[in-house]
Structure formats: structure tokens, C-alpha cells
Assembly symmetry: C2
Homo-oligomer: 392 residues x 2
């Protein structure tokens, strides 16, 4: 049988330089059908040390293994085929092609806001990944790592014009810019790959925090030197002076107390990921409103991080004037519907296309003596015209 002579051997390629170790796949295929000699992760981590695996310290072994498995680039890459990403904007921006996955959409097949926020985070990290600046932290550069610094988001503003649907191919563009002396701005633009139509845009501000003291930090010179060559001025959202978000108190119309972070809510920085905050905010709005409205804008101002043992309270308050306006419009609509003889609930509501509804939000940690703000937010909503996935 011809296959009995098949013999394919690929040898490990290994080298060690400057204390860094790399290894690779060892496929040995000598068989009639196909048999593969698979190394265990420990064997790989121990390989190529030029000494017995037992002599390797546990830590070195772990670091070596992680390097092999993650393959974080140490130099700038222009293309990453696995991430479907490429460097744009004359060498400083990043674009990633993303397919909306089945578990990123809700019952109407449209991507959830949480999924979009997750993908903002993912593309931002991949941008740093491609830059060659990524240390082993959550988006931290080598200079930040040396100074025990991590990124924390201080503000996020997202606008969604169209929600993408399951299976749709999107292009996420992201880039960074200066924000004051010690901050960084990061923007995103999400387009339909098929049509070029912009679906969503976002801008955010980031500052540095000392990982140990958990206090905000100035941007060290060495970090500025790393990241400032990547700064550009382009803005995804043209913002004037941002609207001030009032601080709600316990008189807020809707209050959801005793929210408890779950194990699965913690991220690589060991705090509650900011995407989860949005879920808590949304869940405080009555179901009845959520069922018939769609969020098209959100602003978040982060004040304090939230740990796994904190108990969180979510407050929210609809805009008063708009509820009144809404009341007026409801009766206007009723008249119109009666006059025209059209059935309520059909496309006629399209006339009220520009009508929006606002909510103010606050998440706070319930303390013994006083409460501490985690995040203030504003959300903007408009009526859903249809339960179909492509409704805008």
C-alpha cells in the first residue's frame, strides 16, 4: 500500500537569545495512515534550554510557555492574518475585519451593545499587539510595565446608527490621539464591509493607574516616547463641550440595589470590566421601555474601579421634559392615527423618527458610611419601528 511509505518529518526549530526562548511545532509523521507525536505543554516549555527540563525554574518555564502560545510580536507588524488586522493611516491606525458571531446577537439577530463594546476593547488591544509595544498586560506597553502602570478608561462615548446583524462582516477602524498631558484618546469607526455604510462610532479617554497603589499616575516620559508617535488628530465623533452628567441620588426613579459582580465579570486586570457596567445600567431601565426602544447613544464617565467583593447599586432617571413631550406626541399621534384611519403601531411612527428619549445613570458602591461613585452615564434611545433585525 503506497501510503505505507509516506514519511513526513518536521523538526523543532528552537533558539534562545537575550533570555527569550522560542520553540515550535514538532510533527513527526511516519505512518501508513497518520500519527502525530504530540508534545505536552510542559515538554515544549522545557525544550531548548540546553539543560535538563528539571533545571529550569518554574517561572522561566511558565514565561517560555506563554511566549510560545501567545506569540506577542516584539516588533511592529503590518498585517496579522489570524486577527484579520492590518496597520492603516500611514502606519499608525489599525483595521480589523470581524464577522458578527451567533452569540453576539440578541433574540432579534442584531449585535448587542455589549458585543460592540467588547469588540472595541478587542480591536484596541490588537492595535497595541500589532505595534510591537504590547507587554504581557492588558494593553500596557513595555514602558508601562516597567512602571507598574495599567490603562484605565475615564470616558467613553458611543453612537450606534445601525446595529449589525448575525453573520454580517464589519470593519473596525481604531486609532489613538493625545488627550491633555497625561491621557490618551482612542476612537473607533465601524463600517459594513459590504456597503461601506458607517454603523457605529466611538471615542474614549484613557489614563494610567499604578497597578499596586491603584492611584492614577502621570504619563512617564518613556511611555510618552513609546505611544506618541502613534497619535493622530482624526476624530470619530465631533464633540463640542460635553454635556455635564448630573449625579443622581436615592430619589432616582429606578433603583436596583445589591448587584453583585460575578466571577465571570472580572477581566485580566482583576477588576470588573467596564462592559459589565453597561449591562447593569440597561437592566435598571424598565423592560417595557427596553422592548420598544433601541439605544443609539451612550456616554460613560468612569470615577472609580469596582472590585469583586463590592456591592453595587444602579440608579436611573428618565428625562422629565421628554416624558412630557412624549405625552404630547402620543396624543398628537393618536389624533393623526384617528384622522388618517391608519392602524396604530404600523410604520406611521416613522414620522417621529427624530424623537429621542434620555436616561441618566449612576452606578455606585454601597459603603457603610458613604457611597462611592463608579460611573455616571447618559443613554439616548429611540423607538424601534419593527422587531425585524434590520430596523434602524
Amino acid at each position: 500500500m503506497a501510503a505505507a511509505f509516506s514519511c513526513s518529518v518536521s523538526f523543532p526549530f528552537r533558539y534562545s537569545r537575550n533570555g527569550n526562548r522560542y520553540r515550535s511545532r514538532v510533527d513527526i509523521k511516519i505512518n501508513a495512515s497518520s500519527s502525530t507525536r504530540l508534545h505536552t505543554l510542559n515538554e515544549i516549555a522545557g525544550a531548548g534550554k540546553g539543560s535538563s527540563p528539571l533545571a529550569a525554574t518554574t517561572e522561566n518555564r511558565h514565561i517560555a510557555e506563554e511566549q510560545i502560545r501567545q506569540k506577542i510580536p516584539t516588533q511592529k507588524q503590518l498585517v496579522d492574518s489570524y486577527r484579520q488586522g492590518l496597520i492603516t493611516e500611514r502606519g499608525v491606525g489599525y483595521r480589523q475585519t470581524v464577522v458578527v458571531r451567533s452569540y453576539e446577537v440578541g433574540p432579534y439577530k442584531t449585535a448587542t451593545l455589549e458585543s460592540l463594546l467588547n469588540l472595541f476593547q478587542e480591536t484596541a488591544l490588537n492595535h497595541v499587539w500589532m505595534s510591537g509595544l504590547l507587554s504581557n498586560g492588558f494593553g500596557a506597553t513595555h514602558g508601562m510595565m516597567r512602571n507598574n502602570l495599567i490603562w484605565v478608561v475615564s470616558r467613553m462615548h458611543v453612537q450606534v446608527d445601525h446595529y449589525p446583524i448575525w453573520g454580517e462582516v464589519l470593519e473596525f477602524d481604531t486609532w489613538v490621539g493625545a488627550s491633555g498631558k497625561n491621557g490618551m484618546r482612542r476612537d473607533w469607526l465601524v463600517r459594513s464591509q459590504a456597503t461601506g455604510i458607517t454603523y457605529a462610532r466611538a471615542t474614549s479617554t484613557w489614563v494610567m493607574m499604578n497597578e499596586k497603589t491603584r492611584r492614577l499616575s502621570k504619563m512617564p516620559e518613556e511611555v510618552r516616547d513609546e505611544i506618541s508617535p502613534w497619535f493622530i488628530e482624526k476624530q470619530a465623533i465631533k464633540e463640542g463641550i460635553p454635556e455635564k452628567i448630573v449625579k443622581l441620588d436615592e430619589n432616582a426613579k429606578y433603583v436596583n440595589s445589591d448587584l453583585k459582580p460575578r466571577r465571570s465579570d472580572l477581566d485580566m486586570n482583576h477588576h470588573v470590566n467596564n462592559v459589565k457596567y453597561v449591562r447593569w445600567m440597561q437592566e435598571t431601565i424598565p423592560d417595557k421601555f427596553l422592548e420598544s426602544h433601541q439605544l443609539f447613544g451612550i456616554v460613560l464617565e468612569y470615577r472609580r474601579e469596582c472590585g469583586s467583593s463590592d456591592r453595587v447599586q444602579s440608579l436611573c432617571q428618565p428625562d422629565e421634559d421628554e416624558i412630557q413631550t412624549n405625552g404630547v406626541e402620543q396624543s398628537l399621534l393618536k389624533n393623526m392615527v384617528l384622522t388618517s384611519g391608519m392602524v396604530e403601531g404600523n410604520g406611521y411612527l416613522g414620522l417621529l423618527d427624530t424623537k429621542t428619549y434620555g436616561y441618566t445613570h449612576l452606578l455606585q458602591i454601597k459603603g457603610k458610611n458613604r457611597n462611592e461613585e463608579i460611573v455616571r452615564g447618559r443613554t439616548r434611545w429611540r423607538k424601534k419601528y419593527s422587531t425585524l433585525p434590520y430596523s434602524t
Copy 2:
């Protein structure tokens, strides 16, 4: 200055038909540098119909728009570059390359079980996507759609040998086979792309449910004709006679009552996605145990679907005999550590590699008169040897 020629016009475009109204924005940007004519979603939906957009019915328009945005293939595809997928196994299997995303990992940078289950679902759907058989349902074929049938999972068995880490590139292989007369088996194999090492394997059984009556259905001939050419005999997990999962009652050691599905827990089939069940099961196990142990095996037997208004109770019970065994082994270990003089917590614990812990689970809907089972489960755990991400 070139920009002087830039001219941006936007005007509303509206039409009304069958009592439905659409409006949309037409942005026309005539510019000296690059000019892009951006189509609105409605224009696109109307395009290519061979008739004026006004003549298209609303439903057709929606379907047309969705087709353009999703681009579900109507014929078998061998490669999909966006999904990074290809057909394998002599034309019937599917392989997808996946990068572990930042939000799919927990605080220790390892992918969560939920993320793996989500990716099983995603790759399964993409397999059907590539086959050309996918109708617009949640994995349903054209024949199933004609018979109002949807897929429901009846059993799932997952084994995780190694948890992938953030940024790691994985290969998911999936394929289907026969399961009795009316069911289908679907298997998965997850490998590290860099090393070829198998990280996880899974097998599942699926049956068909009538979307309207919510009752299980036989497999119609036309559906069998669609899917049976894709069946192969390969098995990811060699199973003997499956262990029977006992039904827990209210005497179970840990009980978590009044669990409430969240809006975000509903999937495209408008029921609670089975991945969420696993979260509820895990959250019923004490934190102390979860912190020091890692799941390496889970079996789920689904009995009934769970809707958004159901109140769910999660019960779980550790295996008694193993707790005792554990006590014995703990003292053995203590002796060994004392004897050898090695520090506790180092690699020496590797000697207890085979020690495992079992839990039995039940999720049920709390009814007025009686409770109804949603799913029974068994989980298997082993000690974590380190908090480092690559610990096995």
C-alpha cells in the same frame, strides 16, 4: 485649496407602501480628493430587484436587505476567508481558525468554559453556513424551515485538557454523524494551532423541535436527505455507556433559587441559550472551591427549554465518596511534603495529577404545583496547581 471643492449634501428619502413607511438618509459627498457614494441600507435592499424600489414589498425589501448584509451562501463553499473556515474531511467536515479574544478570558487569562461553548456553537453554525444548507434560522436547513423545525440540543459532553490563553490561535474541527433514527451527533476537537496539542474535545446530540408547538419532531425525509451526506463516523470522545445522572431533589447540598433569565440570555431561537445554563450551574458551587479548582469535564442532559419568564432553581451536590478520599489524600500529601522538605504549592503537587472531584447538578423551573427539569449535569474538577494562566 482642493478642499474648497468638497460639497456634502444629505437629504431624506422617503416612500410609503402598504401602510409601511421608511426613511433614510442619502449622503452624497462630492469631493476633490476621494468621493464615495454611500448607499443607505434601504437603497441597497431595493437594488438589483429588477424593478423600482417602490415596487418592492416591505417583506421582500427586508429579506433582500438581510441577504445583502448576511450573504448566506446558497451553495456549498470550500473556504470562507472572513470566518477563517474551510471544509475538511473529504468535503464534509469544517475547520475554523480562532484567536482567543481578550473578553473571552477570565482574570487568569485563560478562556472560560462559556467561551469554549460559545465557540462550539459558532463553528457549528458556520459549518452549516458553508454547506449551503443554512436557511435563515439558527442552524436550521431549508428543509427544516419548510417544516417549521429548529434544532435543540439534547446532550453535550465536553472535556478540557488545557484552557487556551488570551491571544492564542486555535483550530476548531467539527463534524456531524447519525444519532439514532431522528437525531444528529456533532463533535468538536480544539487544537493549539502552534503546537497541534489537543486542548478540548466535545460531542453533542441534537434533535428537532417544532418551532410553533415546541414539541420534539421526527426527522422528515427531506431533512435527512439534506444532512445525511454530511455524516461521518469519527468520534471526538470515545464513550462507553454514559453514566446515568441522578436527579437531585431539594435536599441537595447547595441550592440557588430564583434565578431569572436576563434579556441578554435569550438567543435567536427566543429561548435561554444553553450556554447560560452552565453559568448557573457553576455559580451554585461555592466560591472557595471554584477558586482552587478547574473544570475538566462536563456532561449535560437537556430535558426542557427555558423561557424568559421562567424562574429557575439550580441545585448541586458534591460526590460524597470523593470528599472522603480527598481527606485521605490531603494527609498523605502533607506527609510527603514534610518528608521531602519541599515547599507546599510548588510543582510537587503534580503527583496528585489524577485526583478529581465530581458534582451533580440540576436546573429546574419552579412551578406552582411541580418543578420541571431543564437540565441535569455532571461536572468533573481537579486542583489548580498555580494561578498562572497556563496551569493545567
